[in-house]
């Protein structure tokens, strides 16, 4: 059971990360992943991500550990970028390998949902007319709460 989490400024290659998860563990029949990227529109020029160094890595590690425990994953990976990013650039990669598809898909969903409310990252949007801090969406809390309350049970 391997867990890998990283916070970095450099752009990552989601395809390479996914490829690295594939074929490494013969007991796993499924690999699932999620990649978040900077969404354009509303005059957005760039997105800036700030975090709480040390605390963030610890939070990501706990989230990945919990996913491995709940879904008996082969591997769990979370890569999150910080700093300034242009529209279309990748922000976050979450991946999981598991014996079966349901576990890999659910674990991936769990990790990104929980990350949004439990890891200290903050987004700032830069537009041609200025910049502002992003407010979380109301649905973010609900998605995380559902996992934490056990409403979304592991079916692995």
């Amino acid at each position: 059971m391997a867990v890998s989490v990283k916070v970095q400024t450099e752009r990552f290659d989601a395809g390479a990360l996914l490829d690295a998860l594939t074929g490494r563990d013969s007991s796993c029949g499924a690999v699932a992943s999620f990649t978040g990227q900077v969404r354009g529109g509303d005059d957005l020029v760039a997105l800036e991500l700030e975090h709480y160094p040390g605390v963030t890595e610890q939070a990501l590690g706990r989230i990945a550990d919990e996913a491995v425990r709940r879904w008996s994953l082969g591997e769990a990976v979370i890569i999150h970028r910080v700093g300034r990013m242009a529209v279309g650039e990748p922000i976050v990669f979450v991946g999981a390998s598991a014996p079966h598809r349901r576990a890999a898909l659910e674990a991936t969903s769990f990790m990104i949902d929980i990350l949004k409310t439990q890891a200290p990252f903050w987004k700032r949007e830069h537009t041609s007319s200025g910049s502002h801090w992003v407010e979380p969406r109301p649905g973010d809390d609900e998605a995380a709460s559902a996992w934490l309350a056990g409403e979304k049970e592991s079916t692995a």
């Binding site: 709480y52 990252f121 903050w122 700032r124 801090w133 407010e135 979380p136």
Partner: protein, 82 residues
């Protein structure tokens, strides 16, 4: 010894500083520290908002947590990663 206070993102902008150091106040908790800061500076009013989370010595903590001399208390706006 003292308390180190850190502000992130929108709260850092609001407070005009990323970090400040104050003398430890025996018996005070996280919520009490927020109230004390607000009494000193009206700009700190946002610290009272329930959406603001406290990270005390690198752990998310309730406002009721008692503060010890040497603690680092971070006031954090709602997280918006991912």
């Amino acid at each position: 010894m003292a308390l180190t206070i850190r502000y992130f993102a929108a709260l850092r902008d609001r407070m005009g500083t990323a970090e400040s150091v104050v003398d430890h106040m025996p018996g005070i908790n996280g919520g009490g520290l927020a109230e004390w800061l607000i009494a000193r500076d009206p700009a700190a009013e946002a610290l009272a908002h329930p959406s603001v989370r406290l990270i005390i010595n690198d752990e998310i903590a309730p406002r009721s947590q008692a503060l010890q001399d040497g603690d680092t208390i971070a006031f954090c706006p709602p997280f918006s990663g991912g």
